[in-house]
C-alpha cells in the first residue's frame, strides 16, 4: 500500500501521539515525581529495611523462576517441535493457560491447593514446609504466571531452523547432547533470550498472584510491586515512586543486557567483510 506524504506524516504523528499519551507520559510522570526534590528522598526511601528486603526478595524470585522456566521452556519447545504426536495440541493449550487466566485466579488456585484445607497443604505442613505466606508459594506463583514466554518465543525459531543442521551434526558424530549444546542452542539463542527477557519482566512486575499467596507481610513476604502498592495506599508516595523507579530500572537493565549482548554477537559476525567469488 502506498500513501501520500501528508497521510504519511499524519499517520506518524498519530502513532507517536498515541505512544506518548499512553506509554511515555505516565512513565515520565513517575520520574518527575520521584526526583522532584532531588536524589535524597528517593534514596532514603529505598534504603529503608523494608524496601531493601523487597528488592532482594524480588531478585530472588527472578533468580529462581527465570532459570527454571528457561530450562522447562526450551525442553518443552523441543518436545513440541521435534517430536510430533497427538498430545502436542493438548500440551500447547495447557502452556497457554497462564496467559488466559487472570493472575488473581492463579493466586486463588494456589491458595486452594496449598492452603490448610487444600490437597497438598496439610501434608506439606506436617513436613514443616510452609508454602503460603512465605517464599515457596511466591516462587510457585511467579513460575506459573511467567511459564509460557520461553516456550512461545522458542517454538517458532526452532521450527524455522529446521532439522538439517542437527542431522548434519549427527552424521559428523555428535551425540544428541553435543548437538543440542553446539548446534541447536546457538541457533535458537535469540528466541530463548527474548523469552528470558519477557519472563524476567513478568516475574519482576507480578502483582496479582503473588499478593494472594504472600499475604504481603512487610519485611517478610513483600516484593517490590507489593511494596509500591502498599506505600501508595498508605500515602507514602515518595516510597511508592522510588520503588516504581527501581522496578523500571531493573527491567531496563534486563533489556539493555540483552541488546548489548546482541550487538556484540552481531559485530563479531561482521568482522570479516562479505564478498564472494
Amino acid at each position: 500500500m502506498t500513501v501520500g506524504a501528508p497521510a504519511k506524516w499524519g499517520l506518524r504523528t498519530l502513532g507517536l501521539g498515541y505512544l506518548a499519551l499512553l506509554l511515555l507520559a505516565p512513565v515520565a510522570m513517575i520520574f518527575y515525581k520521584t526526583f522532584e526534590h532531588g536524589i535524597g528522598p528517593p534514596l532514603e526511601a529505598m534504603t529503608s529495611s523494608d524496601a531493601v528486603h523487597a528488592i532482594w526478595l524480588t531478585l530472588l524470585m527472578v533468580a529462581v523462576a527465570v532459570p527454571l522456566n528457561t530450562v522447562f521452556g526450551v525442553g518443552c519447545a523441543l518436545l513440541l517441535v521435534r517430536h510430533r504426536w497427538k498430545g502436542n495440541a493438548v500440551i500447547d493449550g495447557i502452556i497457554n493457560l497462564p496467559f488466559a487466566i487472570s493472575p488473581v485466579v492463579i493466586g486463588l488456585s494456589l491458595f486452594l491447593l496449598y492452603g490448610s484445607g487444600g490437597w497438598f497443604g496439610p501434608t506439606l505442613a506436617e513436613w514443616g514446609i510452609e508454602v503460603l505466606f512465605s517464599t515457596p508459594g511466591m516462587i510457585l506463583a511467579s513460575i506459573f504466571v511467567s511459564l509460557p514466554f520461553v516456550v512461545r518465543e522458542t517454538v517458532p525459531v526452532l521450527q524455522e531452523i529446521g532439522t538439517e543442521q542437527e542431522q548434519a551434526a549427527s552424521t559428523l558424530g555428535a551425540s544428541a547432547w553435543q548437538t543440542f549444546w553446539r548446534v541447536t542452542l546457538p541457533a535458537i539463542r535469540w528466541g530463548v533470550a527474548y523469552g528470558v527477557v519477557l519472563t524476567t519482566a513478568r516475574v519482576l512486575g507480578e502483582f496479582g498472584a503473588v499478593t494472594i499467596v504472600s499475604g504481603s507481610i512487610s519485611g517478610k513476604t513483600e516484593t517490590l510491586p507489593l511494596y509500591v502498592a502498599k506505600s501508595f495506599e498508605q500515602f507514602n508516595e515518595q516510597a511508592a515512586y522510588a520503588g516504581a523507579i527501581v522496578l523500571a530500572l531493573l527491567a531496563f537493565t534486563t533489556l539493555l543486557l540483552m541488546s548489548v549482548g546482541g550487538r556484540r554477537a552481531k559485530s563479531q559476525s561482521q568482522t570479516n567483510p562479505a564478498g564472494g567469488t
Binding site: E164, Q165, Q167, A168, A169, S170, T171, L172, G173, A174, S175, Q178, R182, V183, P186, A187, S269, T271, N272, P273, A274, G275, G276, T277
Partner: protein, 345 residues
Amino acid sequence: MAIAVEGACKRFGDFQALDNVSIDVPDSSLTALLGPSGSGKSTLLRAIAGLEDLDAGRVTIRGEDASAKPPQKRGVGFVFQHYAAFKHMTVFGNVGFGLRIRKWSKQQIDARVHELLRLVQLDGLAGRYPDQLSGGQRQRMALARALAIEPQVLLLDEPFGALDAKVRKDLRGWLRRLHDETGVTTIFVTHDQEEAMDVAEQLVVMNEGRVEQSGSATDLYEHPANEFVMSFVGEVNRLGEHFVRPHDMQIVLDADEGTVEAMIRRIVPLGFEVRVEVVLGDGTDVWAQLTRTELQRLELREGQIVHLRPSQAKSFSGDSSSDGHGASTPRGRQGGDDAEVSAAA
C-alpha cells in the same frame, strides 16, 4: 561392495517411499541415484546414512550390517541440498566440527581443516561465516566438513540442486575430480539425467519407490529396461508400441519401404541442432533431431510432406514397470532393433 542395500522398504503414512529396493555400490565408485521427485531416491540415501529408519531391509556398509547403527556410528559423510551450514560458526568451525567432536588436538584440527580448505579451494575464507559465502562456496564448505571425518562413504543429496546453472556445471566437474583424488565411495542423488551421466560411473534409476534399472550411462541409454528408463534418460518418440529416439528419426523426401508419411509442423533451430516437429497421418505428434547441415541439405520447410525412417526402435512388451523390481544389475532388453513401424502410420 562398499555399500549394499537389500529389500529396503519405507512408508510415510499412505506413501510408499521405498518398495523393496536393493542396490550394490562398488568400492571407490561414484554412483548416481537418478529419478523424478517422489521416486524415493533421497529416502534411500538418508536410509544409508541412518537419518531414516527402514521399515524392512538391511543396509551394509563395508561388509558390516549398519541397519541398527545410529548415524554417528556409520562413518558416512552427508551433504545436504541446502548445505545445512552451522550458521553461528565460521567456515573453520564448520569444517572442524566433526574433529572437535572426536577430540582432536588444536594443532591436528588446524592442519586438517586447512588441508581440506585447500582441497575445496576455500583457503583464505576460513574466518568467514556461511552467510558471507556464495551458494557454491557454501556447498564446498559442506563437502569439506563431510570429508573432514574421513568417511567410508560420501553421500550427497541433490548437492547442486539449489545452485544456478553455471555454478552447477562447474561443481559437477569439480566433484568428479575430487572423487578421483580422494577415491572415497560416493553416492549422489539427482533428478537431472544429464548431471548423473556427466558425473557418475554407475546410475541407479528409481521411480515410485523402486529401482527401474542400474548400470552405466551407455547401458541405460542404449539398452533401457523399460519405457520409463528410456524416456527418463533421454528424449523419446512413441510410434504405436515402439519407442524411438529423435536422433534416430531420419527424414527422407521420397517414400520407401519402412518409411512413414508425415507433415512438418514446425522447425526449431537450436544452434547446431535443429528440432523438426512433425505430425503423422493418424495425428500423432513426434519430432526428429537433425543437424543444421542435414536441414540445409534437405531444404525442409514448414508445411512440407516428408517421410520418416525410424531406426533403433524399441518395444517393451508386458508390464514393464514391475520388471525393474529390486533390479541391481543392468537388464537391457532390446525389443527388436530397426523394427518395422509402418503399422503406426
